[in-house]
């Protein structure tokens, strides 16, 4: 179990062991989406905004 700090609001997030690169993690406090940019060292950044042609 790892912990990260939300880049937007500073909330602490606990991560499951099976987290993967580029996974999207919603912050439970402020609701922004964080993207896992690196596993080692563990780094997150604000996920990109949804673009017009994104979807199913």
């Amino acid at each position: 179990m790892s912990e990260i700090v939300c880049t937007e609001c500073g909330a602490e997030l606990r991560l499951d062991d099976d987290v993967i690169q580029n996974e999207i993690l919603p912050c439970p406090d402020c609701g922004v989406e964080l993207e896992v940019m690196s596993l080692n060292p563990f780094q997150v950044a604000l996920a990109p905004e949804v673009e017009e042609d994104w979807g199913e």
Partner: protein, 293 residues
């Protein structure tokens, strides 16, 4: 050991479920981000020849389509195929494919100016639904109940900078009994499960908060989905259908399905079924390759 590439825009819950499903089959796919890729149409990057199958899970429709054009040119096997994605990515192309196959769908029209679109909506009758040709998750859908609303929406569309919004796709509004529609999950023509999507809002997308419950797969649903799958080129598809007094009607077909909310209500392990299909295609490609050498 099968070699699988999975191209992603971001890793959603679905990509994680698919990754775990591949791992349950003893395969570790290589995850590749679409934003890192540069395509040269004159020569194939040798890295792609190492894979038995490339699984497109891009969120971006345009990136996915260009990647599929590239892989199709170099005969790299993919899920889904270029043909399927080209048809399903565009609502008018989907409508044409369904019409060619004689399958039931709501009345639709395509028009190029606000004036001709208003005439088309007037012919179809109000309410009607204006949709972007490319789009998902209920984005920019507009139910117009009268000509005033249609004029307003069309004026707004015309001011949007993207030229794609200046081609207007109109669909007859289908009143949903019980406020629900059906989402069917179809792999190689087989409907593996389906859900009812219920909402008090007229848009019944689970991405917009609709509730999902199991929908039994009867003969009518299975038969229609099989024929629709054939009409658009097959593969891994999520089909949206309306229930009407005349029977089921096809609304949309998605080639990059999301399924996280449908596993629990249906009790079907959708990810493993998708993965097994992808691996069967890869195996077929291997056999075809060994027969040619």
């Amino acid at each position: 050991m099968m070699r699988v590439a999975m191209i992603i825009t971001r890793a959603r819950a679905e990509e994680k479920l698919l990754l775990k499903a591949f791992q349950r089959r003893g395969i570790e796919p290589e995850l590749i981000r679409d934003e890192e890729l540069v395509l040269n149409p004159l020569a194939i990057d040798p890295r792609w020849s190492e894979f038995d199958i490339v699984f497109l899970r891009t969120l971006s429709t345009s990136r996915g389509l260009y990647l599929l054009e590239y892989f199709d040119r170099w005969e790299v096997p993919t899920v889904n195929s270029l043909r399927t994605a080209n048809i399903c990515a565009d609502k008018f192309k989907t409508s044409l494919a369904l019409a060619r196959a004689g399958l039931p769908q709501p009345e639709v029209r395509l028009a190029f100016t606000p004036r001709s679109t208003l005439e088309a909506v007037g012919e179809l009758g109000y309410p009607a639904v204006l949709k972007p040709l490319v789009g998902s998750w209920g984005r920019l859908l507009a139910k117009v109940n009268d000509v005033d609303a249609a004029e307003a929406v069309l004026e707004h569309r015309q001011t949007l900078g993207n030229f794609a919004y200046h081609v207007h796709f109109v669909q007859s509004y289908v009143d949903k009994p019980h406020g629900r529609d059906i989402r069917a999950f179809v792999i190689a023509g087989q409907t593996i499960c389906a859900i009812y999507r219920s909402s008090s809002h007229w848009v019944t997308s689970t991405a917009r908060g609709a509730l999902a419950e199991n929908c039994p797969v009867g003969a009518e649903l299975q038969d229609l989905c099989q024929r629709a799958s054939d009409a658009v080129g097959g593969g891994v598809l999520a089909m949206d259908l309306f229930e009407t007094e005349e029977g089921l009607v096809l609304n949309e077909i998605n080639h990059g399905m999301e399924f996280r909310n449908s596993i629990e209500p249906t009790g079907v392990d959708i990810a493993i079924k998708v993965v097994d299909y992808a691996l069967s295609l890869a195996e077929q490609h291997r056999q075809d390759g060994s027969e040619q050498t």
